[in-house]
Amino acid sequence: MDPILLGAIVAMATILVLFSGVSVALGLLIVSTGFLLIFDGLRSLELIPEILFGKLDNFALLSIPMFIIMGSSIASTRAGADLYEALERWLTRVPGGLVISNLGACALFAAMSGSSPATCAAIGKMGIPEMRKRGYPDGVAAGSIAAGGTLGILIPPSVTMIVYGIATETSIGRLFLAGVIPGLLLVLLFMIWSLYSTWQSGDKQLLTAGNYSWKEKFEILPRVLPFLAIIIGVLYAMYGGIATPSETAAVGALLCLLIAMLIYKLWNPKDLWVVLRDSTKESVMIMFIIAAAGVFSYMLSSLFITQAIAEWIGTLDVNRWVLMAFVMLFLLVAGFFLPPVAVILMAAPILLPIITTAGFDPIWFAVVLTINMEIGLISPPVGLNLYVINGIAPDISLKTILKGSLPFVACMVIAIILLCFFPGLATWLPDAIMGEAV
């Protein structure tokens, strides 16, 4: 059979199976096994356990559970609330200050957590009730946290960057650095929008709410120190010659656990277990998808589909930006339905050769891809951050959350367009710190 046609059949079957309610990882295994059985025969099934094991046989993957532990240990203390409160006391005079504090807190928290749902949960637990109490519309409160939480995978450390780095053999340290400026850019865009929308609403109360003395402002500063200690500690370990980026995750996890236990008195074994349980749950879920996606890409490669599609797109005579637009659209649609890790693992082997042949920088592409995936996190039907918000504030309807986060999606699209015009936004920092790309 023609590999392209076969590829189309595989795509249809995959969509059908994945929408059937079976878990993403098992769905990928079911589709792969089915096609391998039909086209390669029984002998290829013997390989499945080896491939599953082999995909996980990678030191860099270990940083995934660790960066998740960092986030969830801090998230189960009042550290998130402290951070958020400190920002609020200082930004109280700014119109829409509360939304801006929340976004700032999300950005800072993202610098400690590799995962978006964790970032969303840590800041949202305090931020959403507080914003609603102060009279911000439900949509703005929920939308800003949902969107701010997505920064977790753009601002380093980032689980998706690790997965991308492994799938494409790109330096993870470089990828992390590439996310910094676009992450700040996105925060800036989010803040501009918040300012504008608050100003436009004309609600005086939102402008003046909360008035803090200088004493109160300085009083809270020491409570932000643990955050700074963690962030600086991790950065120093990573870029100061102590550990490789994957090893640094362990330092971060240990620092966060220690700070959670010593400073925030997270002694109780029961509370500690909650941290470990949540981290285990999220990492096992992600790692199983990684392993299953490995079998899926083995199937695609074994049936020559990957190679045929790459060749076929190579023969298309289109402008490279048209090509990029199609790639972005494809990723966007995939992101609506699938978690970022699954999209990256399934798409990277096919897309990367196309992207590099068309002259795009793989580091730049990682950043654009990540922002694209962030949109998927706050879009139905599968938006991990939406579930988190739903868990924190069950009385806000999905429709309201979506409406509130839509303007932030627009900000992400603007960020992608800006990155297309100014690729240096992504590539300048890694080049400046680590030298020209390898």
């Binding site: 079976v22 099934l45 499945i48 094991f53 030191f59 470990l276």
Partner: protein
């Protein structure tokens, strides 16, 4: 809404089999979490030995990798019990209650078959490594049957938890896809 059907664990009712499987899965979850913690500790130890003492770190990287793999595979049943494996239930949501029930039987049946296949070949793979005494090609030279053991154990317990979940729905203790009545 589709997806991670909240943080609720699968229900067991008073069924002794379901409770026993749930207990096994929870035990597996503890092991998995312990392995992740051990991996964190060993990685920190490795950085210390290399950076502070400037000595060789021969076994740590490998140990940490195998712990992470073990944590993932052995954690599978526990995450299944917590309904932590992300899914997209667009089709079940659009179905009537009866059709959804049969859809669940179909997808669960397929899941059980696939996990059984991995378990079968995973056991064979482990057995081969044990019989032929395969080792990793490093100075440490780990006997590979030890890390490979996580495949049959993890998928074996995973299979049990999936069967338990199916039985819970058949006995009407739990709802298909955890969807009550949307």
């Amino acid at each position: 809404m589709a997806g991670q059907s909240s943080a609720v664990a699968s229900r067991t009712g008073n069924n002794p089999f379901l409770r026993a499987v749930a207990a096994l899965s929870t035990l597996a979850g503890w092991c998995s979490a312990a392995m992740i913690v051990a991996a964190v500790a060993i990685t920190c130890q490795m950085i210390f030995v290399r950076f502070v003492m400037n000595e060789s770190t021969v076994w740590q990287t490998e140990a940490v990798i195998y712990l992470a793999i073990g944590a993932t595979l052995i954690g599978l049943p526990y995450v299944q019990r917590l309904r932590g494996h992300v899914n997209v239930d667009l089709i079940p949501l659009s179905l009537s209650k009866t059709a959804r029930y049969y859809m669940y039987l179909l997808t669960m049946g397929l899941s059980i078959v696939i996990v059984a296949i991995v378990l079968f070949y995973g056991y064979e793979h482990w057995h081969l490594a044990y019989e032929r005494n395969w080792k990793s090609d490093t100075v440490w030279g780990v006997r590979l049957w030890i890390p490979y053991l996580s495949i049959p154990i993890g998928f074996g317990l995973f299979l049990l938890q999936l069967i338990a979940d199916l039985i819970a729905v058949l006995l009407k203790i739990d709802a298909p896809f955890g969807l009550e009545d949307v």
